[in-house]
Amino acid sequence: MGNKKETPDVNASSTADIAFLLLVFFLISSTMTSDFGLGRMLPPIAPPDQTDAPIIKERNVFTVQLNYKNQLLVRGEWMENVDQLKAKAKEFIENKYNDPNMPEKVDTEVPLFGNVPVSKGIISLQNDRGSEYQAYLKVQNELQAAYNELRNELAKKKFGKNYEDCADEEQDAIKKIYPQRISEAEPKNYKK
């Protein structure tokens, strides 16, 4: 009965150690980096009764072929460097001067813009089974870049700001004018 002045005290000095242990565990088992990637939509599988693909005019298709040596064939012409692809694709999608070899345009009613000619261009990407993944992704990346830049240019012209900074409805309108049409064709195996 002598220890009136002392209150029973839990020794809490090890809580820090326990918390540190937990902290270290989470540091090790977690990854801070978030995932980045190129988003794509795959085409649904064609119904079995559909035999032939819809016919698309040649002027509306921008074919990109990648062979097993990672060489590019763009609309029937060799392309030495992937870096040229973006400019080519942009030129094709935009079709500034209504070139008869470039895609047709259809006047479409777009909110915020009114009646605007929208190109019917489709980018068709074919690859060989032997192509390298890095090369393939680089091509995909360049095509994406072409679309992104066109959208950005339009956003700057119309709304005076970058595409990412636009409101949702503004982005939707721009997407309608430059719809992303990248078709990943069924694979072909040229190498025998």
Partner: protein, 156 residues
């Protein structure tokens, strides 16, 4: 002089550490919230290719992963590129089942938003990827993402 005398009298000077656990717990909670657990232990080598136009994958819970690469223990499992689902090797035929399973585990309203992230090594050949893509189409998992490292575009 006064200071020295005081410390001599009281003995060792002590830092009050009673708030240390609180600080550490705060750090702990920060890391728990800001980080996400490693999904799986990789048994294939995955060195992601680089791309500049990447977008961030939102909502981790809706993403399923497919890993493609050469086995890490190449002496044991060979040097052919293999597919990894969850924690084990798989073949292209397993993908359909895997997707169905992953879809089952999601809420019904979230199912259309499911995304499949393909994490493949940059050196592998497209044949494997093409097979995976066909399998995904069969499984009706059409929203995919080619995982890539973010790189800056070099200006000329």
């Amino acid at each position: 002089m006064a200071v020295i005398r005081k410390s001599k009298k009281k003995g060792q000077f002590k830092v009050n550490t009673s708030s240390l656990p609180d600080i550490v717990f705060m750090l702990l909670f920060f890391f728990m919230v800001a980080s996400n657990m490693k999904e799986v232990t990789l048994i294939v080598k995955v060195k992601l290719p680089e791309a500049t136009e990447v977008t961030k994958l939102e909502q981790k819970s809706l993403v399923s992963y497919i890993y493609v690469g050469v086995p890490q223990q190449s002496k044991k499992y060979g040097t052919e590129p293999r597919i990894q689902l969850n924690d084990s090797f798989a073949t292209v035929d397993d993908i359909e089942n895997y997707i169905l399973q992953e879809r089952e585990s999601l809420k019904e309203s979230d199912r259309p938003k499911m995304t499949v992230s393909i994490k493949a090594n940059d050196q592998i050949q497209m044949g494997t990827i093409t097979d995976i893509k066909q399998a995904l189409r069969k499984a009706q998992a059409l929203k995919i993402s080619y995982a890539a490292r973010k790189a800056e575009r070099n200006k000329r």
